[in-house]
Symmetry: C3
């Protein structure tokens, strides 16, 4: 039958390639070739492995695209005098995040996945060829697992980046972001995706499909802690009045949200962890419907409250819908995903207005979009679906968000009293681009 | 030749699928599990199903990317004082389009696909699990079918959005776009892709592979109707002279066209409806060659006519080539696809100049790119290939475009005499961003 | 959940599907149908073919995205008065490149791949159906091979485009770029990827996995030749001092680098030439780690040397890491890929400063990023891996880069003494957008 033939073909092709490429690796070559052959025989029998692996890799590329989305969204929603700073932080976060996840995070987050290892750098010690060959290892290789998860890891710090924009001191933020991504994110991650205690509730395990809490709630509440420590931008709240500080480029912000929407197909769709036709397509549909409904909820509620069709709110509504469905994208029905998105889109409008009123200055609405809607999305798994009990969802999301908040208060608090976390009044006025980078973002000849 | 046979095969498969779908089962977990197992056994016999399903989902993501392309293209080619408005319309259209397609369009467009149902919301009534399980249902799940088609649906309204930019009244446009996407687009769609009358010509069935007529011609002629009802922007035609109103950002416009080109690989490539290696790669090649030739045709003709290498025309040439090959991307040879692209690229230059001369004010050239080249592309199937007789192509494209035009004249006409479709003279001068949204798109500190 | 069951079942696959689909055959295409049937039987036995073919097509789309990345990067790093010109050149290069690759390059580069043919246009003479059907033809169709390689081809000229920006005469550049892509690139390409002499070293064959030398070194040294012939931009080096000419939009530049990073997953990942789960995921990991390390190397070295965290250097560091790992992405270990990226990121900083010091004016750093790091990356295959001997790598990269340099000196030199290669002093001052295109890139109303 074809599967057997296939196994032969794939194994043969792969082997030849492997042999060609490992010409003069002496001692390990034979072992590697044997292991590779065995691996290919196993997965050769299942082209599902090959397709699933490819889908996870494509999903990793899509999630990577989200980092571009965050970069343009954050820079679009802030002032042009701080644009280089925003972009630099985003470039730093994603590249630092991939590296620290290789050195530490991946190991620390998935202990069960590779023999209970828990040590910085172990990833480089283990002979990866043998680990990768394991046909028992789900529907993708170890390297695929790493790259897909690595793309997620930096997201939490990116969320914080937007909230602290326009007044945070760069070196302090770089240190904080590195610690958050490297050490804090994997801790809560391991609680759930690493097979930890959130899977062991008697009432039924905690469910967070693609990270409403583990990524977005985590990032949102870390952001809240940082914003509280940092204080509002100068000129934002004057004499008890709220003075809007408008973003400098709505096209950039819009590009950002579209790219985030696009990337979310990989964020949620890839979280199926294989190419199951039913599940992946189901997740695509719930994700898209929730995002669309989020836009509607935000557009119409903000139109009523603010008396105008507000583009920023529409954009935040899309993100709210996406964050809202992320925990239940595989378990909430399409019809209910519309309800979830609609509510999330309305929540985000109210939440942004609320935080502004209590003078929590979050330039991009990160706390509302990721924090508040992340919690809502996690609870929605129980409220609008039946994959998990409400109690487990509540305990889970509160634990994760609280951990992120407390970790951030402590670490960012220490930075505050040591290095300082805020630029000088002059630098804030002049802009961080000149102050921190000696470079302006734009030099467009007036026409 | 090959495409004809293949078209037959695919069509045949689809029909059989429709007929086979008479299973009627209750909603229970046990039965779901049984059905799921049966489904997996069936499609498990065909990993081709899994790969094809994945390709359609990735194509849906690529087509989604086109909406970002439209957003940036349209905003780039219009004035900065209307940018928020352009972006808002695009955000609204794609999110509204996905939702209304779920509530109505998908049901209404593909009657054969789900037992002849024709009713709003039926998608939510049917137990989707059973439908999705049907192994007879082509090479992808029902959810995949929905999301892929939903991404197409909003395109028609997006095309109109560009043509009416800079003077249309927002609420009226939102109502019109919703009606167009929800009710008009599925009607013509069902004529062809829903197994309707365009498939039943004695001379040979009408062929519109990925929508030169059904999407682009439809959108382009709806746009023409709206532009005629709306009139030109103030200051465009003064004392019988044409005053160019230049776009505000050529980088945005260029980003838009590149993203549309990228997305078209999903638009056309996904329209193969499976991952057939030969056909999908064939379609990639014809699509890319036509786009490239379109650029060449537009660059060199506009260089001759306008005495300068015109970037806008080059960009429109790429789109013209893409629209031109869309109907025959699977049936026109690579060599002929270059000819089709080249001609489309030249047509679009002449058409844009022509419409400007007769004072049809279309800021982004949507009528020429989508309408005129859509008709040309549909006819090209017969002229430069042999997949369909010319008569069928002519009847098909005229019917579709005429329907779109008449529908738009009536609906937009009613809106004109009721709510009004045009902003006030003051608002047009000041810009719709301030007038409709109370927000400016840019706030870039001069440097 | 079902994944495990499913995994076991899927393998059977394509065969049944293929037979089902090639059932009905008629008319003149009996031969075609026979060939198609045979093809489907063959590849049906290997769904690996279908998946691999799809991955190569998706990779082609990703590499296409890199052209958008180059467009925005180059325009972002140059002045706003030359933006239309930069964009126009990029639009021209990619579209021209696809066409000339169809007419000439593909044939000329891969003689062994289609019966030793070597002639312009032969691609259109051969009956493609038969060629495409060949199951012996690797893991993808002939059309897939063409489109994937075509997307690579134009890259070399795009690299030159950035280096000569802001003063090159458009028609001369268009001629040069066309000759470079059409005739020069395929020559060196055939030396290695076309089965040429670089595969025949006694010490061990030259290895350039995805083109550190064949694409990037080639483009970088062609750029160096052109820059030397062209001279620096006026005002760059005045009275022995270097006057920085800053780019006009760091958001555009950042978007460009993120898109290039994204596209590189297809550039390197697709160069595996099939969907081998181990190899493709391995390449994703080495590519991402090298890019991330490149950013780190550039950020920290430039911080030390320039006393500020420099965004442009961070962006160039990412690209340097990507160029650096390209030759050995499949053979250098993840740990070593970090070392390669880190060094490349530091090299690019030093190289950019060096070229500026010796008054080689390269506005976007193309010579350093692509040329210098391309050579380094090629040598890194031997230095940080063991896939090839150092001598072969050295001979290969020097040969390729020298050929590109000499070809460019001759061809661009001839253009210099005939048509001229540089715009007038007035045009350079006013900007090429007005001078060559009669159009400005931006018209943003001050706010």
């Amino acid at each position: 039958m074809s599967a057997v033939i296939f196994a032969g073909i794939v194994g043969f092709g792969g082997m030849a390639a492997a042999q060609d490429e490992s010409v003069d690796v002496e001692e390990t070559t034979v072992e590697f070739a044997d292991a590779y052959g065995a691996f290919m025989s196993d997965i050769g029998a299942s082209s599902f492995f090959t397709v699933s692996n490819l889908w996870l890799l494509i999903s990793a590329a899509l999630v990577f695209t989200m980092h571009l989305g965050f970069s343009t969204l954050e820079s679009g929603l802030t002032q042009s005098k701080n644009t280089v700073n925003v972009l630099f932080k985003n470039v730093f976060i994603v590249t630092m995040g991939i590296l620290t996840y290789a050195f530490w995070g991946f190991n620390s987050m998935y202990p069960g996945d590779f023999n209970g290892y828990f040590a910085a750098g172990s990833w480089f010690d283990v002979d990866p060829t043998m680990e990768l060959m394991s046909s028992a290892y789900a529907d993708y290789t170890w390297y695929t697992d790493f790259i897909f998860q690595a793309m997620f890891a930096a997201t939490a710090a990116t969320i914080v980046s937007g909230a602290v924009a326009e007044r945070v001191k760069l070196p302090s933020f770089m240190i904080f972001a590195t610690l958050l991504v490297t050490f804090a994110y994997p801790v809560t991650g391991s609680w759930e995706w690493g097979g930890g205690w959130l899977n062991n509730f008697a009432a039924g395990e905690f469910v967070d499909f693609a990270g409403s809490s583990l990524v977005h709630g985590f990032g949102g509440f870390a952001a809240l802690a940082c914003v509280l420590l940092l204080g509002a931008r100068r000129g934002k709240y004057v004499d008890g009045k709220i003075k809007p500080i408008v973003g400098h480029s709505m096209p950039l912000a819009t590009i950002g949200v579209f790219l985030l929407f696009l990337g979310w197909f990989g964020f949620n769709g890839g979280s199926v962890l294989n190419a199951d036709p039913y599940l992946v397509s189901f997740v695509f549909v719930t994700t898209a419907l929730a995002a669309a409904a989020g836009a509607m909820g935000a557009i119409f509620l903000s139109w009523i409250l603010l008396r105008k069709p507000d583009l920023s709110m529409a954009l935040n509504g899309i993100l709210a819908g996406l964050v809202g469905i992320t925990a239940g994208a595989d378990s909430i029905s399409p019809a209910m995903s519309i309800v979830v998105g609609l509510i999330a889109g309305m929540i985000v409008v109210v939440s942004i207005i609320f935080f502004d009123k209590i003078k929590v200055d979050d330039p991009v609405g990160a706390v509302s979009v990721h924090g508040v809607c992340g919690v809502f999305g996690t609870l929605a798994v129980a409220l609008f679906g039946d994959a998990a009990p409400f109690s487990s969802q509540l305990i889970g999301t509160v634990s994760i968000c609280l951990f992120a908040f407390v970790f951030s208060i402590i670490v960012f608090g220490i930075l505050k009293v040591t290095l300082g976390i805020r630029v000088s009044e002059e630098e804030e006025a002049e802009g961080l681009d000149i102050g921190e980078h000696g470079q302006e973002a734009y030099s467009i000849r007036p026409s």
